[in-house]
């Protein structure tokens, strides 16, 4: 398998010259195979082979007990016509909208504030990132406690400031449940976006701001005409990961509501889990898995295609 190639151009333009004087002796070949084997075996067996099997299963009707029956694309036909899937997908779209507006919106405001911050910028960044390192389960449960109708942080705060009439059982009211259930995952990753955006902002050359300063441009204009356009490439990363993350959303909602009340907070990921492991619809569940993967891919490809501008040169 491994053959001698001599001094090659492997690994992209910024890799240093590899061990140029070495040749691929049989001994080295053996070492190479031996060193690569564990990673290759694990990766192929548990990741690649698994994803291939999900795709394969999605063409069968199977409950784990009977003999799998090949049904062609009918699982996918059923998928796009299934009202529960569509309802769940609508909730995923709400998740995407919340992530784009609330998560990235707040992250942008914080990033721009941080770039103007006179002292303690690093401290603030550290604090904002705290929720992102905590497990989804713990964050969801914190919000579950905070949204408790009786003693929860939110309702008691509302009562304290005299807005007690607004207090309600956020998670068990089917009108508010979906927003309440999606809030934790939306808020948890604000700090993560802030870090990425701050990295982008530090790359904008000072000279631009100095020029703007000399021209007497206001702060708002600087933000609008310099920072945001030059940050666009980084904002795109945030948008794409917000979209794929929201499509795969599972943990928070599973812990908070499990899809209830009355399927009001069902997400596609939850549906996949329920169909596969509770209803034992292995084939159909697999087709939902593949669907989630494909829709995520489609979103990011379309987004890159239509919104990415040329690379910015400073």
């Amino acid at each position: 398998m491994l053959r001698i190639k001599g001094i090659a151009d492997q690994g992209g333009e910024n890799s240093p010259p590899l061990m140029g004087g070495w040749n691929m002796t049989p001994k080295k070949m053996r070492t190479g195979i031996l060193f690569l084997a564990p990673a290759m075996l694990f990766y192929c067996f548990f990741v690649v082979f698994s994803i291939a099997r999900v795709i394969y299963y999605s063409f069968f009707k199977w409950n784990g007990l009977n003999f799998p029956q090949f049904v062609g694309v009918s699982n996918y036909v059923r998928l796009v016509n299934d009202q529960t899937v569509l309802a769940a997908f609508r909730n995923n779209l709400i998740a995407i909208a919340m992530a784009l507006i609330i998560q990235i919106g707040i992250a942008l405001i914080l990033t721009i504030s941080l770039s103007n911050c006179k002292f303690g910028a690093r401290f603030f960044r550290t604090v904002y990132f705290v929720p992102a390192v905590i497990s989804g389960v713990a964050v969801a449960m914190m919000f579950g406690q905070a949204m408790n109708p009786d003693y929860g942080l939110i309702n008691t705060s509302l009562r304290l400031i005299g807005l007690g009439t607004l207090a309600r059982p956020w998670l068990s009211n089917s009108n508010t449940a979906i927003y309440a259930a999606l809030l934790p995952q939306t808020l948890q990753y604000i700090g993560w976006n802030v870090i990425i955006l701050v990295a982008g902002i530090y790359n904008i050359p000072d000279s631009l701001y100095e020029a703007a300063y000399l021209d007497g441009v206001s702060n708002l204009q600087k933000t609008w005409y310099i920072t945001l356009p030059l940050l666009w490439e980084v904002i795109q990363i945030c948008i794409i990961s917000a979209i794929t993350g929201s499509l795969q959303g599972f943990t928070h909602v599973m812990v908070l509501t499990g899809g209830g009340p009355n399927s009001a907070t069902e997400l596609v990921g939850l549906l996949m889990y329920h169909r596969t492991f509770q209803w034992l619809q292995f084939g159909y569940g697999s087709s939902i898995s593949v669907g989630i993967f494909l829709v995520g891919l489609l979103f990011s490809v379309l987004f890159k295609r239509y919104f990415s501008s040329d690379k910015i040169e400073y």
């Binding site: 491994l2 053959r3 001094i7 492997q10 240093p16 590899l18 061990m19 070495w22 691929m24 070492t31 190479g32 060193f35 690569l36 564990p38 990673a39 694990f42 990766y43 067996f45 548990f46 990741v47 698994s50 999900v54 299963y57 770039s115 103007n116 911050c117 006179k118 603030f124 550290t126 904002y128 990132f129 929720p131 992102a132 390192v133 905590i134 497990s135 389960v137 713990a138 914190m142 406690q145 905070a146 003693y151 304290l160 870090i195 990295a199 530090y202 790359n203 000072d206 701001y209 100095e210 300063y213 943990t251 599973m254 812990v255 990921g269 996949m272 492991f277 898995s289 989630i292 891919l297």
Partner: protein
């Protein structure tokens, strides 16, 4: 790739760049957000010392009596103690295996030249796109078949496998930047490949190895979905799973649930406070793989 370099070069600048702006309003926004971020955490921390009565009457304030027994209850009766050890064991084994396996692969991919090198590297990187959740069913069936379902290995094996793409990606990138002179010297001294790997490459790669270790720790410690599907015996539950089980009636006092939440996040916060830079770097590079 260029995004990665942007991140690398600018994530931790030595000094703040002056942007010629002043303003008290930005400072207020920042402080207010920081307070709001920490508020739920503080509220949970305070609540974890209260009993139900006090929680209803005095939801906000500092507890009148500090009920440390809530923690004891969560640890013992809530089974959080056992879950804690399960999570720790699974984490440790996963981290050791992932470091060994990926650094070996990265050593070959960054140092050896052969025709398939770049193809194998890209093949590993492909895995970064695959969502963990989509492999749930085949993994479940495989684990049942090889007889490890509902054991620690039912989690360790998938965790190792799914961390491989990230590990290979970040380690190969770093090892390519290690100058070759040291190895050449070692070759002249007659070292074997294994000796070079263990005594030259590994010590030099420590900073990146720690990034991979930390990210693996966070991923594994916080993981929920695999644990939910691949475990059924409560004695094997991980912390995430045990915590979530709290809600469905393992305990009847809310303060104990809150104590459980606090226990589960202490190790993570500890690691974050100690190794902030590495944590942030590990969690953000994965996304900027571009």
């Amino acid at each position: 790739m260029e995004n990665l370099q942007i991140l690398e070069s600018s994530l931790f600048p030595e000094r703040q760049k002056p942007k010629h702006r002043k303003g008290i309003s930005t400072q207020i926004i920042l402080i207010a957000t920081a307070l709001i971020t920490m508020m739920p955490l503080l509220w949970i921390l305070m609540g974890s010392f209260k009993n139900n009565n006090e929680l209803f009457l005095n939801s906000f304030g500092i507890p009148h009596i500090w009920r440390f027994e809530n923690y004891y209850q969560a640890w013992k009766n809530g089974n959080i103690g056992a879950d804690f050890f399960n999570s720790t064991f699974i984490c440790c084994v996963s981290i050791i295996c992932i470091l060994l396996i990926t650094s070996m692969a990265a050593y070959i991919l960054s140092r050896f030249q052969f025709r398939l090198n770049f193809m194998i590297y890209s093949f590993f990187l492909m895995g970064l796109m695959i969502p963990w959740a989509s492999n749930l069913l085949p993994l479940f069936l495989t684990l049942k078949k090889i007889g490890v379902y509902d054991t620690y290995w039912a989690l360790i094996l998938p965790y190792i496998s799914f961390e491989i793409p990230f590990g290979v990606f970040i380690l190969t990138g770093f090892m390519k930047s290690i100058p070759t002179e040291l190895e050449e010297a070692a070759v002249i001294d007659g070292c074997s490949n294994w000796a070079i790997f263990m005594h030259v490459i590994i010590p030099l790669s420590k900073p990146v190895l720690s990034t991979v270790a930390i990210l693996t720790f966070l991923d594994v410690w916080n993981e929920y979905l695999f644990a939910l599907v691949f475990l059924s015996n409560p004695a094997h539950f991980t912390l995430s799973l045990g915590l979530a089980a709290f809600q469905t009636g393992r305990v009847q006092y809310y303060g104990i649930i809150m104590a459980g939440i606090i226990i589960s996040i202490i190790p993570v916060l500890f690691v974050y406070i100690l190794l902030q830079k590495q944590v942030i770097k590990g969690m953000t590079t994965g996304a900027v793989k571009g």
